[in-house]
């Protein structure tokens, strides 16, 4: 493939194909994000606080639009604690008020206490806008790869190395 990069147009075309693959994948992710109105429409369950419903490593699909009804007690929601980047998947157990600034209290099914300890200092309830979506579907176990990659960063390097090797060797 590389030997036929004699003329610049062909090189540009090859580069464009590669770039379009990346950008199409990215745009599909962003498209899903816009449709669900969630900054991260697919999350991985990181802890066992929602067992037996969700296990560590499950992949969750989120929906963040309240078209038919408000987010209500009993729904499983995902939120980020203010200032931290970790998504927490818990169930809504109390609700006060309505609309985009309703106050919600959450608790993990497998936890003893509710989430008041987890919220930021001085925060007793979640605002509806803190929530990045309610769970509408899930794929068991698929997300475990992501967990392994983030907990063992050397695996990322190993994976990239292997992929690079495969690409280089294929040229021969």
């Amino acid at each position: 493939m590389f030997s036929s990069l004699g003329n610049p147009r062909q090189a540009a075309a090859q580069l464009m194909n590669f770039g379009l693959i990346l950008s199409t994948a990215f745009m599909m992710w962003k498209g899903l994000s816009v449709i669900t109105d969630s900054p991260s429409p697919i999350v991985v369950v990181l802890s066992g606080s929602m067992e037996p419903a969700f296990q560590r490593g499950d992949l969750l699909l989120l929906w963040n639009r309240n078209l038919m009804a408000d987010t209500s007690v009993g729904e499983i929601v995902v939120y980020n604690v203010k200032g931290k980047d970790i998504p927490i998947v818990h169930r809504v157990v109390r609700k006060f008020g309505e609309g985009p600034h309703a106050k919600l209290l959450t608790k993990g099914d497998n936890n003893v206490a509710d989430d008041t300890e987890l919220y930021a200092r001085g925060q007793d309830y979640l605002d509806r806008t803190d929530i990045i979506g309610s769970v509408v579907g899930y794929l068991p176990f698929v997300g475990y790869v992501t967990i392994m990659l983030s907990e063992h960063p050397w695996m990322k390097t190993a994976m990239l190395g292997i992929m690079g090797l495969v690409v280089v060797l294929q040229r021969e």
Binding site: A13, L20, S23, F26, M27, K30, G31, P39
Partner: protein
């Protein structure tokens, strides 16, 4: 003579791509003026789409999702439009065109498109020639097996490939008279035998005839070529 890469003769995509690459080399060496209109449109569509995606990535990364989500929605829609148009362009406008150009005299426009059928080692070429003055368009279809210009090892041999084009397409034949009249014209003979063995290629290499599909070398063949042409066919 020159180191030449071998391709896998069973890989239809390789056969087609190598042959497709040889056509512009050959025609440009005959001083055809290539028109890059199709490629340029395709490149501009593709790169614009990529730029839209890159911009979307940047503002999302810098400003976060919530504040930019309407722009992101717009970007996704625009990207889908551009990509859709690009796909349409490739499928329906380009339609397998590998060369578009004008003859050196400026009188004829030529457009060559190629295709292959799955698991059939035949090169299907459609040549459209249009005279700039008249309205008529002549369409020629050429079907030849790939082994006419690939040897058993997978090397591309320019001479028979050029002969096929020159003998079948009058516009090209006028410009490349050497190739327009091959010693043997029947294609049926070549179906089962590969055209070149390594010994023949060594012989050709020694006679300073290039077997690489490059522009300059392929056209400056010596007088010995005509005799070699005879020998090739008999062996």
């Amino acid at each position: 003579m020159a180191t030449q890469e071998k391709i896998t003769v069973y890989n239809l995509a390789d056969l087609k791509n190598t042959s497709d690459d040889a056509i512009p080399n050959y025609l440009n060496s005959l001083k055809f003026t290539q028109s890059h209109r199709l490629t340029d449109v395709r490149l501009s569509l593709g790169y614009s789409a990529f730029v839209v995606a890159a911009a979307c990535f940047l503002w999302d990364y810098k400003l976060g999702f919530e504040s930019t989500k309407y722009f992101t929605a717009g970007a996704v829609a625009f990207y889908t439009l551009l990509n859709g148009f690009l796909t349409f362009w490739i499928l329906y406008v380009e339609k397998g065109t590998v060369y578009e150009g004008t003859s050196p005299s400026g009188q004829e426009k030529i457009k060559i498109s190629t295709k292959t059928k799955k698991n059939v080692p035949t090169y299907f070429v459609t040549v459209e020639v249009q005279n700039v003055n008249s309205k008529g368009k002549t369409t020629l279809k050429i079907e030849r097996p790939f082994n006419e210009w690939f040897d058993a090892a997978g090397r591309f041999v320019a001479a028979p490939f050029q002969t096929v084009l020159a003998s079948q397409v009058p516009v090209i034949g006028q410009l490349d008279v050497k190739r327009a009249n091959p010693a043997s014209a029947a294609p049926a003979q070549h179906e089962t035998q590969p055209a070149y063995t390594p010994e023949m290629l060594d012989m050709l290499a020694k006679a300073n005839v290039s077997v690489v599909g490059t522009t300059a070398e392929a056209t400056e063949t010596s007088g010995a070529d005509a005799k070699k042409g005879g020998k090739r066919r008999k062996a």
